[in-house]
Amino acid sequence: MNANLLALWYLAASVLFILALKGLSSPVLARRGNLFGMIGMAIAVLVTLAITKNVTFILVAAAIGGTIGALVARRVQMTQMPELVAAMHSLVGMAAVLIAIAVVNNPLAFGILDPMPRGNRLELFIGSFVGAITFSGSVIAFGKLAGLGKKFRLFSSAPVAFGGQHALNLVLAIVMIAFGAAFFLAEGRAWMPFAAMLAIAFALGVLIIIPIGGADMPVVISMLNSYSGWAAAGIGFSLNNTMLIIAGSLVGSSGAILSYIMCKAMNRSFISVIMGGFGAAEGAVAADAGNKTVRSGSADDAAFLLANAESVVIVPGYGLAVARAQHAVKELANKLIEKGVNVRYAIHPVAGRMPGHMNVLLAEAEVPYDQVFEMEDINSEFGTTDVVLVLGANDVVNPLAHTPGSAIHGMPIIEAHKARTVLVNKRSMAAGYAGLDNPLFYMEKTMMVFGDAKKVVEDMVKALE
């Protein structure tokens, strides 16, 4: 195959990748889009196999990896999606690093001059250090999300912070760039600066992610998504492969946009998330809850209120996912719909541990997606809603967000407090992630239903029968 034909096939694959992403603008078109993505990938792989040797080894490796991937994709629980995505980011990062080492080892095999020109060295440096940071950072993120913190402190979901952390990171970054410069200016293979640069990049990936607290994970995972794209684009530059550059840039900008959306939904700046340490003082601020009264009721009382409402909005939070209560919630909603109640769901952008996580959990429980509304689409309707049922959510419904001077002032919230009656299910009165008390729980129209979300919702379903 000549180079021009190859480039045209790669162009076709790139267009198919764009169509795959475009399909995600609606649930109806998304499956077709995913099919386009698969076709694009098949084209990319097949035409590349046609111009290479060692095809047997490649096919064996691809078969092993592909089988593992397929098995994991089939078996993974939807609550475990964040871990899976983090693990997959780390693989892209590692693949980028391995390819970069192979290029340094034998540039001629990639159609690059030997010794390598300066331009290729710079591109390779960028691709490999971003890849290395993506790999080690994603491994830490995976550990935090998978709850390995009990076994290894490095994976603790609480921020791991120590004095001089930021200064250390800065110094390491400068040293890494210095080695990169040495690699750039060197004449021969220059293994030493290249290896040193990679080692520091691996360490930096760990150091950047450990101080970031568990609840900032939606940002971290989006950020690593973005890095894995930039790493692929960087390798595309070194190999002069436009398809890799296009695919990498699409992924890189996707991750960047998701990070921005997540930061905005938490009213935090990207810098403050990266600097980490948020959530360290958890529970320290929630002291003055003592003398305010809370009205609490049983699941039966709550079921009575729900059954007599005309409109109900359910606000699911991460507590619901932890309790695996999404199927019970769906059953409750069905019972209410049978009784003629208008039931809808309100989703905050950070309800869950990664962007869109709650939507997937509800979809898994077969909640029709036209009952599920994003925060900005449903907020105006709480004034005419009879009952809001808050399940395992706290900060995202905290009216303090409207009070100037409070720690979460300015954060967009689901305006549950505007409804006529508010039912809140929580395990206890403990403060949420932001360590803030929530005035919603003390309002006269609020009734607290304490207990595990799954058990409480199942009791409500029984009471409705």
């Binding site: 609606s26 991937g69 899976l84 890189g252």
Partner: protein
């Protein structure tokens, strides 16, 4: 101004335009599908498997081609895993009505 354009400049042109395309396409993704978006972008970024195949198959087999084969294996996990898990999630977003239909069809058959 004369001479041929450096490939790096062409790459840079492609890169900048692709970032713009990405920016506009991604803002149109409905928030409900942000998790499938992440898993499908994972699959797409594993097109790096192309680089891994090139690394694995130079004419003279050496240490670099071993790394290439390993990289093919790693990227292949993502290629299949990414697209299949996305498919699985998107199946869940099918409308309930359609699901009932297919179940009825199954009963007929």
């Amino acid at each position: 101004m004369t001479g041929t354009i450096d490939p790096t400049v062409i790459n840079l042109v492609v890169f900048v335009l692709a970032v713009f395309v990405g920016y506009h396409v991604i803002w149109n993704v409905t928030p409900a599908l942000h998790t499938p978006l992440m898993s499908v972008t994972n699959a797409i970024s594993s097109v790096i498997i192309v680089g891994a195949i090139l690394a694995a198959g130079p004419s003279d087999t050496d240490f670099g081609s071993v790394l290439g084969v390993v990289a093919v294996g790693l990227a292949a996990v993502n290629v299949l895993g990414g697209f299949l898990v996305t498919q699985r999630m998107l199946e869940m977003f099918k409308k309930k009505a359609r699901k009932v239909e297919t179940e009825a069809e199954k009963e007929k058959a």
